[in-house]
């Protein structure tokens, strides 16, 4: 029983990382109908920046906050400079541009910091946490708490603030929003900023477990795709639920089903993506769209 509880909590911890990453993908997809294949690499890159800052002797928390801010500004800048010119271009063009970003940031990380795996400091205590007689890893609990706070803040931002409302309007009805005086272009850039900030948080949260290396986010992004697709790629709630469900399910499968083990978890994520897209492309929480031909 204790074992199961521990496995579920550690599944929720990885799941909340998938959820943040999936939310980052959904934010951009809702705003522009683009899947940002570079999302994971952007997160990896800012995690390296956080690492670099801690190397200067800066307190860990300050370094993390600073890195997330840098991610935000970087996201806004990328949208303005690279994505904006192809915004109306055909989908293949946009996919290739985000793959270009993927390659650039992967290469830059290798260039600046090398391919040797680095350990990443954790802001959480290392001693296990005792809850109801079961020892949970403080790291896992910390990751869950931080992710939930982040997701809650994002949700509050979109529901309760004027600029959040403007961003939602710009995503859904760009023409009408423009008439109402909303700067649609800047709202989209802001969306990219938010997405890369959320992505950066998930990168920083996952790095102590995965260790820093330029390819560390490549499997995480596939899990995030699976989470987003499972929840419905247009639904923020779906992304969060999808991420948590996926995290717990993969952890339990990996632990208790011998045949899946650790290596086939990615294959399981791939299977989820393919099956959901074939059977119910709108996912658990998405709306079914009807296309006129």
């Amino acid at each position: 029983m204790h074992d199961l509880a521990q496995q579920i909590v550690s599944g929720l911890a990885t799941g909340s990382i998938f959820a943040s990453m999936a939310l980052a993908l959904v934010l951009i997809y809702r705003a522009m109908g683009i899947i940002n294949f570079a999302q994971g690499e952007l997160a990896m890159f800012t995690t390296y920046i956080a690492w670099q800052l801690t190397q200067t002797g800066m307190p860990i928390l300050l370094a993390f906050v600073l890195a997330v801010l840098i991610a935000f500004v970087g996201g806004v800048a990328l949208e303005r400079i690279v994505v904006r010119p192809v915004e109306r271009a055909p989908q293949l063009t946009v996919v290739i541009v985000t793959l270009g970003l993927f390659t650039v940031f992967n290469g830059l990380a290798g260039w600046f910091w090398g391919y040797v795996v680095k350990s990443f400091p954790t802001p959480f205590p290392t001693a296990p946490l005792n809850i109801a007689g079961v020892a949970f890893s403080a790291q896992d609990v910390g990751v869950i708490v931080v992710s939930l706070i982040t997701l809650g803040l994002i949700s509050l931002f979109f529901q309760k603030t004027k600029i959040g409302l403007a961003m939602r309007a710009a995503a859904l009805y760009p023409e009408q929003s423009r008439v109402l005086g909303i700067h649609v272009g800047w709202m989209l850039a802001l969306g990219w900023g938010l997405a890369s900030a959320v992505g950066a948080i998930s990168g920083i949260m996952v790095a102590p477990a995965l260790f820093l290396d330029p390819n560390m986010m490549q499997s995480v992004i596939v899990y995030a795709f699976a989470a987003a697709v499972l929840g419905g790629i247009e639904s923020p709630i779906g992304a969060v639920v999808g991420g948590l469900v996926l995290g717990v399910a993969l952890n339990l499968l990996g632990t208790y089903v011998e045949a899946i083990g650790n290596e086939l978890r990615l294959a399981a994520a791939l299977a989820i993506i393919v099956v959901v897209l074939m059977v119910k492309p709108s996912g658990l929480f998405g709306r079914t769209t009807v296309q006129r031909v």
Partner: protein, 340 residues
């Protein structure tokens, strides 16, 4: 196949250059050129699938992996001669491609990109998991290819000519395939699926077949990669390979067969040059070039050259082509709904 002068002269020149090149370049470049042949075959697969039919695949490295491992397993575990591995790799990958093609029918543009991306990322973990067949992490080595006794040059030159002969066959067969009815159907489904279906073109048949053919080409390429290096491992077929192939297709020009050849040259030699700066430099150069090409020359090197030639030498136009040249026709296809 009837060709006009503007078409057969470049082909003849390319064939002659390929035939005499080993005599004039140093032998390490001959070795690189074997890889160019393999990449050209794989990129050709993307040209047929993405360029001509508008289906995005970010996972062609996975098909190359299957082809490479089919060739390697047959040679390593079963002890068969290397040349049997090549056609069998094509058959295995063709069948797997038909299967993926059936799935792809249900996935519109960007979802197909997402699924194939995930396939490419997951491929190495499959290879690592089934250790008893694939040799796991460490991969497996193949016996080095030997030249037959009647061949006057060494084994490397033998492999060079075999690889380019096979590449020639692949290009020829693909050219035969995409001309006439089949090619027109592919392009019609790319440019306007609704109209194409109204004219009685069966999208299931053509799109699945395009995927199968494209995957078979990638399989041949993978087999040659395995044979040329005499070694396969999960890292040979990492996600980076899939990206590299796409880069080759996009840089070369995804709408023409020449783009596959030029693209293959670029993805073989550009990293060798960039590596002299830093081990990570090729990725950065690739990424920046990809983005710049998409912003300014979306139809690639060959497409850009064709436009330049047309602008500056309109007199050379011999015969109007069947379809008007449209740089982004392939790319528009992804925007069309696949289930109509």
């Amino acid at each position: 196949m009837r060709l006009n002068t503007a078409q057969w002269v470049p082909i003849a020149i390319a064939a002659v250059v390929i035939a005499v090149l080993p005599a004039v370049v140093p032998s390490f470049i001959v070795f690189d050129l074997i890889f160019v042949a393999a990449y050209a075959i794989a990129v050709l697969g993307l040209v047929v699938l993405t360029g001509m039919n508008g289906q995005i695949s970010l996972g062609h490295g996975a098909f190359m992996a299957l082809g490479g491992y089919v060739a390697a397993v047959l040679a390593h575990n079963a002890g068969w001669p290397y040349w049997i591995g090549v056609p069998l790799a094509a058959v295995a990958c063709g069948a797997f491609g038909l299967f993926i093609g059936l799935i792809a029918l249900r996935l519109a543009g960007v979802y197909l990109a997402l699924a194939t991306f995930s396939l490419a990322v997951a491929t190495p973990s499959f290879l690592k998991h089934y250790k008893s067949i694939t040799g796991g992490f460490g991969g497996m080595s193949l016996e080095a290819v030997k030249a037959p006794a009647w061949f006057p040059l060494d084994a490397q030159h033998w492999l060079y000519y075999v690889a380019w002969a096979v590449a020639g066959i692949c290009f020829l067969l693909s050219a035969l395939l995409v001309r006439g009815t089949f090619g027109r159907a592919l392009r019609a489904l790319r440019d306007n699926p609704v109209a194409a279906v109204s004219f009685g073109i069966n999208p299931y048949y053509y799109k699945t077949l395009a995927f199968g053919w494209s995957a078979a080409l990638a399989g041949v390429a993978g087999a040659f990669l395995a044979i040329a290096t005499a070694f396969v491992s999960p890292d040979t077929f990492s996600f980076a390979l899939s990206i590299t192939l796409l880069i080759g297709a996009v840089l070369g020009g995804i709408l023409t067969f020449w783009g596959a050849l030029i693209g293959a040259l670029v993805i073989e030699f550009l990293p060798l040059l960039a590596q002299q700066v830093n081990a990570a430099a090729p990725s950065v150069v690739y990424g920046v070039t990809l983005i710049l090409m998409m912003l300014f020359v979306p139809d690639g090197i060959v497409g850009g050259l064709q436009r330049a030639v047309r602008r500056f030498a309109p007199a050379h136009r011999t015969k109007p082509e069947l379809e008007p040249f449209s740089p982004s026709a392939a790319m528009k296809a992804a925007d069309q709904p696949s289930r109509e």
